[in-house]
């Protein structure tokens, strides 16, 4: 193995490995994800914008890549760090191997890194600014300086950067073993407008299958424009970065909540919703990134195994009286979901749309439909 790639952290730690992507340099915040499956979904999740992802599962690339496992139109991670890239891929769905896929998408990626050591380091010291570089003439000192130059995610409004620029309608349903991905056949009963802060496709697919006619709009769309269309419900998507500086979204959400329409927020959408209702958010030490996080539903005590991907969290102590906690993480006790007592408004920190991850919390989408049903009658 040739050491032709380097990961340099802001604290001076250096990890040498083998390049499996393009020769280039990239900066971002390095985070670890513990999911065993779904690396392609992770690579294409817009919530990872400006983040370099290291996967704790040692063998990545086994199942190659395909066009149906993309969660957006491009690869959003700033870099990928893995332990081992297998020489062959083995899955009937694969159309391209991971290395070619990364190169085609212009991604800097390193294999042969001791990802276990790296993860322990991040757990101990927290997510870090990092520089990932591949090619000849690597200068470690320069790379550390480059890593330090990354501004960090606190205060960084990324939702508007990854959001769609023009509005569009969504038609596809969820993937099926026999038919793959097809236009959803469900009877369309609900008009839903989805704010795109970095939306994952599977959210839209599930909503479409549940009977929603979906229009996706950009992050900075004013509330008046959305309300003028008289939708049955508003969806607030997941997305990258710090929710705090997204004042345009917070302003719009306040107006939407006051209109009395049902609102469902996931991940960043849930954080923005909480901010709009007066709660506060803060940056976590290393966040939650994985597909096996137990979350307890507080009303019935049921445990849901969830997909998670967030570096910021809503502080439960700051919740206003009319916003109640509905879910809590069994890993660290952090807040995972809220519901308003008066308005038909709720949010969830994890990813009920899975992809990758388990479908345990999918029933939250049904709750959104129920709220729209109640609102209509």
């Amino acid at each position: 193995m040739i050491d032709n790639a380097l990961l340099a952290l802001e604290d001076g730690s250096l990890f040498y490995g083998t390049s499996i992507g393009v020769d280039d340099e990239s900066i971002g915040e390095v985070v670890f994800n513990t999911s065993i499956t779904g690396y392609q979904e992770i690579l294409t999740d817009p919530s990872y914008y400006k983040q370099i992802v290291t996967l704790t599962h040692p063998h990545i690339g086994n199942v190659g890549t395909n066009l149906e496992d993309e969660e957006s139109s491009q690869v959003f991670v700033s870099g990928l760090i893995i332990r081992d890239l297998p020489m062959v891929m083995s899955n009937w769905r694969a159309t391209e191997n991971l290395r070619d896929y990364l190169i085609r998408h212009n991604i800097v990626a390193i294999a042969e890194i001791d990802t276990r050591q790296l993860t322990r380091h991040l757990r101990k010291h927290g997510a870090m600014k990092a520089c990932i570089v591949a090619g000849d003439n690597i200068d470690a000192d320069k790379s550390i300086k480059t890593a330090e130059s990354f501004a960090g995610l606190i205060g960084m409004d990324l939702a508007k950067k990854v959001s769609t620029t023009s509005r569009y309608n969504w038609v596809d349903g969820i993937w099926d073993l026999e038919d793959g991905i097809q236009a959803s056949h469900s009877k369309k009963e609900w008009r839903v407008i989805a704010y795109d802060f970095g939306v994952k496709r599977n959210i839209l697919r599930i909503l479409a299958d549940l009977g929603c006619e979906i229009t996706v709009v950009s992050a900075q769309t004013p509330a008046s424009e959305v309300l003028a269309e008289k939708p049955d419900g508003i969806f607030l998507s997941n997305g990258p970065g710090d929710p705090d500086p997204c004042d345009y979204a917070i302003t719009a959400i306040k107006k939407i909540i006051n209109s009395g329409l049902p609102v469902f927020g996931i991940c960043l959408g849930y954080q923005l919703l909480s901010l709009a209702l007066g709660a506060k958010t803060s940056k976590m030490k290393f966040g939650h990134h994985g597909a096996n996080h137990p979350v307890q539903s507080l009303d019935d005590g049921q445990v849901l195994i969830t997909s998670q991907n967030h570096g910021f969290a809503v502080d439960e102590k700051t919740l206003p009286n009319d916003l109640i906690a509905t879910h809590r993480s069994l890993f660290d006790g952090s807040l995972q979901g809220v519901h308003h007592v008066k308005y038909p408004v709720f949010g969830f920190q994890g990813h009920p749309e899975a992809s990758p991850g388990p479908n345990d919390s999918k029933r939250l989408f049904n709750h959104f439909i129920e709220l729209m049903q109640e609102h209509k009658t």
Partner: protein
């Protein structure tokens, strides 16, 4: 929900002698169960005919009987010890069968002994091929296709449904004389003809063969509040056709995309719910066609098995210990994981 206070004593049935194809997995699970239940203050009574196991060491149970694992012997132990409950899921199929016999003979009713860990119905549904097939159909899972054939016409019809390769087995012949695997039309008709002749009832069973398919197992744990967790997925390095016991297996599964894996995860949880494993661990086995991802269910074991011992070793999650605690009323969120120092629940 805390542990049950209405029970005081628990009878654990061991797996008996170690036979070919078995290692010490049931000694491991039995010993773990004894420890887990004794630390909760229950009186543990153990019956196992194998004195060479760790679980029959003097300090493992409150009362240890080194007697045959047979319903008549166990009935006498029940008569003497009068346990409140019987835990049959730690001693493999031997213990499950013994529990079913005890129930059939009316022993459990007579002495008012409750089976914990897996209900009689669940054991029965998982064991009886036809009941299992019906249960799987009910939840939308397919098993290997199977047809009964008596003549040429039926053979042709069966060939259309089953495809190739097909496993052809004449009914009621010794050692399956006259059967075989057909890879094409000629072989199919020929073997069916032979089979019908060889069978005293002129009947052959034709099964879809999953030869060469990918083989997977899911280790699932469920509690009485219906919380389900997957301890791990296991993939066999050798395809279907090579017995799992002979195959190299790897945890977690390596060649499934997330979408395929989640189908399998959801399916395995559905199986536990439908079969009715209310508390404890189960093992659900699947075969996947490597060409198009078609998934069929092979079988499920409503008990700890060889695979759960392997899964415990690979993941650090003590399945037998947790299953024992769930059987006496705890739920997953109440148990702390000893491996992660209590930090990670469920």
């Amino acid at each position: 929900m805390p542990k049950r206070t209405d029970i005081k004593s628990i009878l654990i049935i061991g797996a008996g002698p170690i036979i070919i194809g078995q290692a010490c997995e049931f000694d491991y699970s039995g010993a773990q169960a004894c420890k887990a239940l004794r630390e909760e203050g229950f009186r543990v009574i153990l019956v196992n005919s194998n004195p060479a196991t760790i679980m029959t060491d003097p300090e493992m149970a409150d009362a240890t009987y080194i007697e045959p694992v047979h319903w008549q012997t166990v009935a006498r132990i029940i008569e003497k010890e009068l346990p409140d409950t019987l835990l049959p899921t730690m001693g493999g199929q031997t213990a499950l069968n013994c529990a079913l016999d005890l129930d059939k003979q009316g022993v459990l009713e007579k002495f008012d002994v409750e089976i914990i860990g897996a209900s009689k119905d669940a054991i029965d549904k998982a064991e009886d091929r036809e009941k299992f097939r019906t249960a799987m159909q009910k939840i939308g899972l397919t098993m290997a296709k199977s047809e009964i054939v008596h003549n040429q016409e039926e053979a042709k019809a069966a060939m259309e449904i089953i495809g190739f390769p097909a496993i052809i087995r004449p009914s009621f012949t010794l050692g399956g004389t006259g059967g075989g695997i057909a890879y094409n039309r000629d072989e199919f008709m020929e073997i069916c003809g032979q089979g019908v002749d060889a069978s005293p009832t002129n009947e052959v069973q034709v099964d879809q063969s999953a030869l060469g398919w990918k083989e997977y197992e899911m280790e699932v744990v469920r509690d009485k509040k219906d919380n389900c967790i997957i301890i791990c997925s296991i993939e066999n390095l050798d395809p279907m056709g090579v017995h799992t016991g002979d195959s190299i297996t790897i945890a977690p599964a390596q060649t499934l995309t997330d979408k395929e894996y989640q189908i399998m995860r959801d399916a395995s949880i559905k199986v536990l719910r439908e079969i009715g494993v209310d508390t404890g661990g189960s093992n659900v086995q699947f075969a996947v066609n490597p060409r198009d991802g078609e998934l069929i269910i092979i079988e499920m074991n409503p008990r700890v098995s060889r695979s759960s011992a392997l899964a415990s070793k690979a993941t650090g999650f003590p399945i037998a210990r947790v299953a024992a605690k769930l059987a006496v009323g705890y739920t997953l969120d109440e148990l702390e994981n000893d491996i992660t120092g209590g930090a990670t629940r469920a």
